[in-house]
């Protein structure tokens, strides 16, 4: 029964900050799906993600994470997701292991699961040799990778990422992409926003394009191509943005 529920369902979602930031957004992301949310600056992508993760309260509409209503049962909904914003949520004076220990504590992960998982994630992301250093001296890429390890420590069913590849070098970006694909391969769901259209083109099962807080196009790459008679995703994106 549970497997039939979508990973994320947004119905009539609204949020105003003086002007509408999210304006009646309906969205459905299936389980095990890699979903890319695209849009120009100020389109409402980050606000949508912050609403979904419970960081903002919606003015109207419903948010369901794995069938759990975020407004009615926020703790139960949050237990199923992880959020990685564009600025990693880290503590400069903690070491990677300590950071993971703290995040595991927040999500109530049992010690016998958390410790091996922390080691596995740090190994995978090439951070093991820096496990005893304070994160304040880390490069942008290392910080982003550690934040991703923190997001994955409780093995979330829904992983939400806001511009996860910004500022990463090619090697770090590849590691992050591989980890995300592995998460989806294991049955997890990933929703990400990105300005790097090539990432969405290559990784995402479905792509949603948002403008002025509304979903203006959605589908697989082939469906979007068909709709816009475009070539690359970039052409399609620019075509949709230019439309009145």
């Amino acid at each position: 029964m549970d497997d039939q529920l979508p990973a994320l369902r947004l119905v009539g979602l609204r949020k105003h900050f003086g002007r509408p930031a999210v304006d009646g957004l309906d969205l459905l992301v299936r389980r095990g799906e890699f979903y890319a949310l695209l849009g120009p600056n100020g389109a409402g992508k980050t606000t949508t993600l912050r609403l979904v993760t419970g960081l903002l309260a919606p003015d109207a509409g419903t948010i369901e994470v794995m069938g759990v209503d975020m407004t009615a049962a926020p703790a139960a909904a949050k237990a199923k997701l992880a959020y990685l914003p564009d600025e990693p949520m880290l503590y400069g004076k903690l070491k990677p292991f300590e950071y993971l220990e703290f995040v595991a504590g927040l999500w109530g992960v049992a010690a016998q699961d958390a410790e091996p998982r922390a080691r596995e994630l740090l190994d995978w992301l090439d951070l093991s040799q820096h496990a005893h250093e304070l994160t304040e001296g880390f490069s942008r890429g290392m910080k982003q990778k550690l934040a991703l390890a923190g997001a994955l420590i409780h093995d979330p069913e829904l992983l939400i990422l806001d511009e996860p590849l910004t500022g990463l070098d090619a090697a770090a970006a590849r590691q992050v992409k591989d980890l995300l694909l592995a998460h989806v391969a294991k049955g997890g769901t990933v929703i990400l926003t990105t300005h790097i259209l090539e990432v969405a083109e290559r990784l995402a099962h479905r792509i949603g394009i948002i403008r002025q807080g509304r979903l203006i196009a959605e589908g697989t790459l082939a469906q979007l191509r068909e709709r816009t008679q475009g070539g690359s995703l970039e052409d399609m994106f620019l075509h949709l943005m230019a439309a009145p």
Binding site: L55, Y91, G92, E98, G105, L106, W107, E136
Partner: protein, 517 residues
Amino acid sequence: MRLAPGSVGWLLRHELRLAWFNAAGGKAADGRRRPGNLALGLAAAGCIAMHALGWFAVRQLAGVPGDDPRILLAVSALLVVATTFMLSSAIKACVVVMFERSDLDLLLSSHLPSRSIFTVRLLGVSAGTAALYLFLLAPFAHAGLLQGQWRWLGIYPGVIGLAVLCSCGAMLLTLALVRILGARRTRVVAQIVGALAGALLVIASQLHALTSRQTQERIRDTVLGLVQTEGAADNLLWLPARAMLGEPLPVLLLGALAAGMFVLTSWRTHRFFARGLQLAASTPSIASGKASSTPARPRFGRTLFRTVVIKEWRLIVRDPQLLSQVMLQILFLLPLFFLIFKRADVQVQAIGAGLALLCSSLTGALAWIALSAEDAPDLLRVSPASQPVIRRAKLAAAMLPVLGLVAVPLLWLTARMPTAGLVACLVVCGAVSGAGLVVFWCGRPGVRSNFKGRGKGGMVMNILELFNGLAWGAFGWLLSAATLGPLGPMQTFAAAGAAFLAIAVPGIARMLRYKPM
């Protein structure tokens, strides 16, 4: 007048403009970057009041001879006080110049000679150091000028000379620390030295009160000897005071000393200044390199409460700059500890009141760091963890170290004087809980790097914190006095009032609690 770009005058104008913008204490809500009209109005009113005070004081002191050793002693004492404060503010200004001013990269990457940049920065530090004292004392010089008492004009060269000497000393000290300790430690050590210099007299006065009667008499005799011996007025120790009182030769000597020191400092150390700035710029990577030597010992599976407490303690202990600012408050506890452990005639009222005030202040500072200056608030909010449990754990992380710090002296006191000890325990627990709860309910989000300016973010929190400390301090004083003998009606009334206020403060904090948007 048009100043040639890159000249010392041009740089000085840039420096003064920045100082004027920064006088607002940061960008105001309306985007303005200058002192507000209210602040300017208050400064003008203060200036007029000081001129009125100066006018009457100068007239009253018209017939007093400037070479009376008692006058020289009084002026010298004032100069000692002013010098410690000047040195303190000059060291803090040097730390800002070396480590916190972001425009130096731009200036040093330009073709401008580092000597000019350094000279202007040193001038800026000197001007900033002298400004407050000139604001307070220059009206006396103006009054002297208007009343024909020229000697009062000595205030100008006296204050400026002292400020320049203190600034040069502070800059040389900061540069020496960079050379010896490296940039990272210098930032912390210089701040501690600066704060110690500012607190020197307070601590010295407390230590003086703790010395034996014989020692106090010896000190008094030495000072009187300086004043009463034959030819006391000619002692070289009075030279700065004589300069301040406008005697031409001492004024010239002080001026020459200050100018010589300034030229030597700016001309001989400008290269090291540039080198120090480069070291300061590389501070973060140095910090990370050092930290790698200690392996992390994570323990997964703790309860949420303990996880949060331990995280908060780790963050505080590993931030030497923040820790030094917090721990400086403990410095004032030392004389109290000395009283508790050493003196037979324990002044229980002072202990009760002092511990309450200091524990309240220390808890307020730690609670602000743990509760208000959370580095990753979104991480906590996005997690399914209970937010009330997290906040209670943060409160405990702030309160427990303070209680732990005073536990041993309190137990010692309780063992020696049970009633007084129990009273001290009560007021300390009350003061710590009150201060913690005030920040718990009224603390507004801030950033750790702004620890010193945390008061600007929440007037309600500040006022309630102050009242909490004062109320528990007064209650502690009066209740401790009650252990020695019955209180009079007024004292009983005051004790009841203080107790009521101490209990009311957390209640008011709860009513006025901060609600995030």
